[in-house]
């Protein structure tokens, strides 16, 4: 867990509240209300709510979980926001989470996991799931630079971070699908991209949510060491899905990770000791 302490005085957040925007929220609800905690899926940079609408939303609803996915500002069908910061993204997540009927489970993918980590200090999530979490730092940057220099270098100069389909998907996914997904990718705000490297680390989570970390050892965006480190931060070991790409929710074997997440939630994980 982060060593930083709880911050009570948040003068800048009070004095300069985030600008409200129109946000895209997609939902899939179970046919029968089963009193299960709602899930809120938070896509990573470049992705929108569509990435979860493809398979995971429907599957979660089939298993009785009310499932929601949002597009961070500037992504998907949410309002454009070229100047968005990590704080603005965090605001988007806490706004949607607080608008749900009951305490939500936050599921963040990629850099969306970093946003979820921030949101956990501003909203007491029922639980949190970090999928292939890109929590930032220079190590991640180095890995991206080695594996995809052409897509990463422009990001240093304020361009968009471009991910290619070999990074995101395994070879099992049909090429047509992979191309279709990659064509939908957008880009995150310039400042948010930088903050992923240089920004403040998340404050401690409120409400002691249990945290599950999962990913693939063959992820070509997130090095396996970074995955382990992310899990250790939340005092656990990552759940591994070998052979999958970074986008676990879109890859050919998308069913395995989501089933693992829902099984974990069905076991009603205990809050972290406080």
């Amino acid at each position: 867990m982060t060593s930083e302490r709880v911050r009570v005085v948040r003068a800048w957040e009070w004095a300069r509240p985030e600008r409200p925007v129109r946000r895209e929220v997609l939902a899939a609800l179970p046919e029968q209300e089963e009193a299960k905690s709602p899930l809120l899926f938070v896509p990573g940079f470049g992705h929108g709510a569509w990435a979860f609408a493809e398979h995971w939303l429907g599957h979660a609803a089939d298993r009785g979980f009310p499932a929601y996915a949002l597009s961070l500002r500037g992504h998907g069908d949410s309002e454009p926001a070229p100047d968005a910061t990590l704080r603005a993204y965090t605001h988007d997540v806490t706004q949607v989470a607080a608008s749900l009927p009951r305490q939500a489970v936050l599921v963040g993918h990629g850099a969306g996991a970093r946003v979820v980590a921030h949101a956990m200090s501003r909203y007491p999530a029922r639980a949190a799931v970090l999928v292939a979490p890109v929590l930032g730092g220079w190590g991640t940057f180095g890995a991206a630079l080695r594996r995809n220099p052409a897509g990463t270098v422009p990001a240093v100069f304020g361009g968009g971070l471009r991910l290619n389909r070999r990074q995101l998907f395994s070879r099992e996914l049909p090429d047509a699908d992979a191309r279709r997904h990659v064509a939908r990718l957008g880009r995150a705000g310039r400042r948010a991209q930088w903050q992923l490297l240089t920004g403040r680390q998340p404050e401690p989570a409120v409400g002691r949510p249990p945290v599950l970390v999962l990913g693939s050892p063959d992820d070509r965006v997130l090095p396996a060491t970074a995955l382990t480190r992310a899990a250790r931060r939340y005092a656990s070991a990552p759940l591994l899905f070998p052979g999958m790409g970074h986008d676990l929710m879109l890859d050919a074997r998308w069913r395995e990770p989501i089933d693992a997440i829902l099984d974990w939630l069905d076991k009603d994980p205990a809050p972290t000791p406080g």
Binding site: V6, V8, V9, A11, A15, P101
Partner: protein
């Protein structure tokens, strides 16, 4: 997240150990009792639940929301009540209000916010509605006997024993009525602002509004729109701050300066200067010159009052000296003839179910002696939540007070030495104040500056958690 102490409703258990005046006392184990399900009570329930405690909350009304639940007779809100502090200062720090709400939401939005908070965190199952607390008595082992009955005094009393108690019964329900000579002979209508609900009550009448709190100013503005004449009587000159300055909610501008750590004197100077540019010199309207600097009384945020004074719809007058049968004599000897007098003279905190001594109020003055306005010496399992009059939103403060109390209760078992250190801190800090010097009034003792207060609370939280 269930807890082993979650025993459901505390039926009086005949096998329960101790008894009190021959009545059985049901032992609720580690459960914590929260009195009141208003904003402060709800956040106490939520934060104690989050820390793993079982909670019984008693609420005398039939719904959550406390002061903001306009449906019951003790609610001080009136039709046009809007927030004084803007949204970011008002919301709970971990449950944001929708960002498409206005900067200053209406009171009905506030109630819906609390109802959503209660549903979101599933709090209602811990609340006993329609139940009032009659007595709270300390017993051995820092535990508490809480005696309750149905609201209105129906049904039998019953007593339950709790591990800790949170007092969140609010401080805006017991009207404070000043005494005036001749008030009994006055033939006109007299009411306290607590019974003011609708501007129709003012329509076509000659109205005198007494008091320049935020409520008094709101009612004066409504009287200006509805009544045939409006006098507004104030004890002294005040700073009437507009709700917007420099194109932004005024408190957000103010906290920009706080965030930049601009010293108080400089902020006061900037504030005076901004007011001079926007509101202007008030004495030209006949308003008295303020006898204090800004930040030295509870801030009044009202953009409309000065506007209506400028349009001649409000006549500012000095303090009321005495009442005659048809007229009111003012401090300067003038006489006016209102048909309706509205006393917007505020409310007093009351803890009638608790002996004053417990809260350090030895002489019965009604002023508890507390540290952080929440903790009392010698009773480590008692906390008062929400007994603050901040220059900003109150719910943020209630939230952190109850977080601190929940952490304290958690550490009682694991780290008793830390709790002992905290108790020493409480004793040393009783009666500590968290604001610039404020003008004396019956409420000034719990006036706090939100930044000073929350910094002190943050320090206390960090001290408690250190090297954990």
């Amino acid at each position: 997240m269930s807890s082993s102490t979650d025993l459901g409703r505390p039926e009086p258990d005949p096998t329960a150990v101790p008894s009190r005046d021959d009545r059985p006392v049901s032992d609720r184990g580690d459960t914590v009792c929260v009195i009141g399900a208003g904003a402060s009570g709800l956040t106490a329930v939520k934060n104690l639940r989050e820390a793993g405690f079982g909670v019984d909350c008693y609420e005398r009304e039939t719904g959550v929301g406390g002061a903001w639940n306009w449906r019951h007779d003790r609610s001080p809100v009136y039709g046009s009540t809007h927030l004084i502090s803007s949204r970011p200062f008002t919301q709970f720090p971990d449950f944001p209000m929708p960002d498409d709400w206005p900067d200053y939401p209406h009171h009905s939005q506030l109630l819906s916010y609390f109802e959503r908070y209660a549903d979101h965190f599933d709090l209602r199952q811990h609340v006993w509605f329609g139940t009032e607390v009659v007595r709270v008595e300390p017993v051995e082992g820092d535990r508490w006997d809480v005696t309750t009955r149905s609201t209105g005094g129906y049904g039998p009393e019953r007593t339950s024993r709790y591990a800790a108690v949170v007092l969140a019964n609010g401080h805006n329900w017991s009207p404070k009525l000043p005494r005036y000579e001749g008030l009994a002979e006055f033939r006109g209508e007299v009411m306290h602002a607590s019974s003011y609900k609708d501007p129709a009550q003012l329509r076509g009448k000659r109205v005198l509004v007494v008091g320049a709190g935020n409520t008094g100013c709101d009612i004066a503005v409504e009287a200006a729109q509805q009544a045939s004449h409006c006098w507004h009587s104030t004890r002294r000159g005040y700073w009437y701050a507009p709700k917007y300055v420099l194109g932004r909610p005024a408190d957000q501008v103010n906290d920009t300066l706080l965030a930049l750590r601009v010293p108080l004197r400089v902020r006061q100077w900037l504030y005076h200067w901004t007011l001079r540019l926007t509101v202007g010199d008030l004495t030209r309207f006949g308003l008295p010159k303020p006898d204090h600097r800004v930040y030295e009384t509870h801030p009044i945020a009202n953009s409309q009052l000065v506007y209506y004074v400028g349009h001649g719809e409000i006549t500012p007058v000095p303090d009321v000296a005495r009442f005659h049968d048809r007229t009111v004599e003012l401090g300067d000897g003038r006489r006016i003839d209102p048909e309706l007098v509205v006393f917007a003279t505020g409310y007093l905190p009351r803890f009638e179910f608790l002996h004053g001594r417990v809260l350090g109020d030895e002489d019965g003055s009604g002023r508890p002696r507390l540290w952080l306005n929440a903790f009392t010496a010698g009773h480590p399992t008692l906390a008062v939540v929400g007994l603050v009059q901040p220059d900003s939103g109150i719910f943020t403060i209630s939230h952190w007070q109850s977080v601190l109390f929940a952490r304290l209760l958690t550490l009682r078992i694991a780290r008793p030495e830390r709790v002992a250190a905290f108790d020493r801190r409480v004793r040393a800090g009783l009666g500590e104040r968290y604001s610039a010097k404020v003008k004396d009034s019956t409420r000034h003792w719990f006036e706090v500056g939100h930044a000073d207060y929350l910094r002190a609370l943050q320090r206390a939280l960090h001290e408690l958690e250190e090297n954990k």
